[in-house]
């Protein structure tokens, strides 16, 4: 519907309006060439500082986990797999950092990161606050199987020093 029937005068006035209004817009754009600093970040040399509450990859500090399975129940996509067994008779009952007794032996704690939707519901129900969202966001993999992290594996447990704050 851009074709408008009208006189020659209308045609030229529309042309004039088009050029002046575009020039006004270009004037605003050109101001950005000198007066505004670039906002792009040269990733990966320079990294953005994430906010404190940023929800990135989940990390479970298994030494503090009491195998209550509340996180697995709260998870809307069922991406947390937990297995545990009874402690053997007469075994020493350890305590978590906030003083809760660990009465069960955790045998598996796996999170399928490919399935995780980063909603944060599991971290809020954790009674010992051992399951947290870390600030780790670079963990792309070639195959989807490798996205499953067993937090009892020694190499994954070694992340603790790097990730866990305080």
């Amino acid at each position: 519907m851009s074709t408008q029937t009208g006189s020659v005068r209308d045609y030229f006035s529309a042309l004039f309006d088009g050029i002046t209004s575009t020039a006004r817009a270009l004037y605003i754009t050109f101001k950005y060439v000198w007066s505004v600093k670039p906002v792009s970040i040269e990733y990966p040399e320079v990294r953005e500082v994430l906010p404190e509450r940023a929800r990135m990859r989940l990390f479970n500090d298994v030494l503090n986990c009491i195998s209550c399975t509340q996180c697995a129940m709260a998870c809307p996509v069922d991406c947390i797999y937990i297995a545990f067994e009874k402690l053997p008779e007469g075994a020493e009952i350890k305590k978590t950092s906030n003083g809760q007794a660990i009465r069960l032996k955790l045998t598996q704690f796996t999170i399928d990161t490919a399935l995780c939707c980063y909603c944060g519901l599991c971290t809020t129900v954790c009674p010992t606050e051992c399951l947290t969202h870390s600030h780790d966001y670079e963990f792309s993999q070639y195959t989807i199987d490798t996205m499953k992290y067993d937090y009892l594996a020694p190499d994954v447990m070694a992340w603790r020093d790097r990730i866990v704050k305080s």
Binding site: M1, G18, S21, A25, P76
Partner: protein, 390 residues
């Protein structure tokens, strides 16, 4: 069929006898991003007669995720991340509608501070959503620069949300009974600064785009949806308001604390173009950004320290019954119909999506348009396919 040469001509010109025998037929054209890896997968099958659209059929369902059925297996808190993914550009508003429905059945009294924070989040989200609508609409029509200006401002909102909730787009911030985290004074100061910046930017957008003669020629008098059409199809939000009908749930049937706030309902006036065309829908959105800033400023004045979470049982069980809750979301009225049989999970969760209504209006406005004008019409309805397909 009578040939057009028969009218007032004794003889057919011999030179055109071949052309007459040529068959003409409609050309089928598929429009839209259709690759499954892209987000917002929409396919519109258009039948074109040269460059004029004869009719258009939207094919929806590419992004269907079975969200309604799936939520029947989740507890009431677990549904919130899924509701986020309906309209991923306005996740706060989606969350709030669902949560309000649950709270209404549960009979929870939400603390005042939480309710005010929700209003502030929803209005910030409205600005962010309209900025995307604005930026991508212009990119549909050709110019690329404006998109960057819009996304620059949107990024500031997303950053504020990330600081308070932890995620940029899918927040899971509004919880049953209140909100997850409280905003600190510093964060609220950021919101105030943002409001000041946004007002300056809105003037810039007017100079950049809204007053541009080429843009006006592309959008004015194009894709006219009359008020009657809107009523027939059940359109809401900026589409209905662009057609000149002042219907805003925040004003007409105020929910939450919206009664206390002073703001105007933006309506398409037809100053440029015609009421109900693409330009009026666009300008309604741009004006709503300024109205949202007005509301946010009032919220900031009213905020007082207090609790942000009501007492809610650890395992939520709703009484038997059903509830229908509707809120004014950036794209229109979102309706949540929640049926409970007294258990831990919803018996049925039905979402009434505004975008689905708007996409179904396309076959009505498409016939007779040029293809380029049809692109402008699709863009001006501002549909998010996550919400259409659910």
């Amino acid at each position: 069929m009578q040939s057009r040469w028969d009218i007032g001509r004794p003889e057919k010109p011999t030179i055109n006898s071949e052309t007459e025998q040529l068959k003409t037929e409609l050309l089928t054209l598929n429009m839209g991003p259709q690759h499954p890896a892209t987000h917002g997968v929409l396919r519109i099958e258009i039948k074109t007669d040269s460059e004029i659209v004869a009719h258009a059929i939207p094919h929806v369902g590419y992004l269907h995720r079975c969200m309604e059925k799936h939520s029947e297996n989740l507890d009431y808190r677990g549904v919130i991340p899924f509701v986020d993914r309906l309209d991923y550009l306005a996740a706060m508003s989606m969350e709030w509608t669902y949560v309000a429905a649950v709270e209404k059945m549960l009979g929870t009294e939400v603390p005042r501070r939480a309710e005010l924070l929700r209003i502030m989040c929803a209005e910030l989200q409205r600005i962010a959503s309209h900025l995307v609508a604005f930026g991508t609409y212009i990119i549909d029509l050709g110019p690329q620069t404006v998109f960057l200006y819009a996304f620059d401002m949107r990024e500031k909102i997303l950053r504020m949300f990330e600081e308070v909730s932890g995620a940029r787009m899918l927040y899971n911030y509004i919880w049953i009974g209140g909100v997850w985290n409280d905003w600190t004074d510093e964060q609220l100061k950021n919101v105030e600064d943002f409001c000041d910046q946004m007002e300056v930017e809105a003037k810039k957008y007017y100079e950049l785009n809204s007053s541009n003669k080429i843009f006006i020629n592309r959008t004015a008098n194009v894709g006219i949806m009359s008020t009657k059409d809107c009523f027939d199809f059940g359109a809401t939000g900026p589409v209905l308001r662009g057609s000149g009908y002042a219907w805003d749930l925040r004003k007409v049937k105020p929910y939450s604390l919206y009664e206390e706030f002073d703001f105007d309902v933006c309506v398409g006036t037809g100053e440029i173009g015609q009421v109900g065309d693409c330009y009026n829908r666009y300008i309604v959105r741009m004006n709503e950004v300024l109205e949202s800033i007005k509301i946010i400023r009032q919220v900031l004045k009213k905020l007082e320290p207090g609790p942000i979470m009501a007492k809610v049982p650890k395992i939520i069980k709703l009484p038997k019954g059903e509830v229908y809750m509707r809120h004014e979301c950036p794209r229109g009225e979102l309706g949540v119909h929640l049926v409970s049989d007294g258990g831990k999970t919803p018996y049925r969760l039905k979402i009434k999506s505004p975008c689905f209504t708007h996409i179904s209006m396309l076959p009505r406005v498409a016939p007779g348009q040029m293809i380029a004008d049809f692109v402008a019409t699709v863009g001006s309805t501002d549909i998010v396919l996550g919400e259409v397909d659910r």
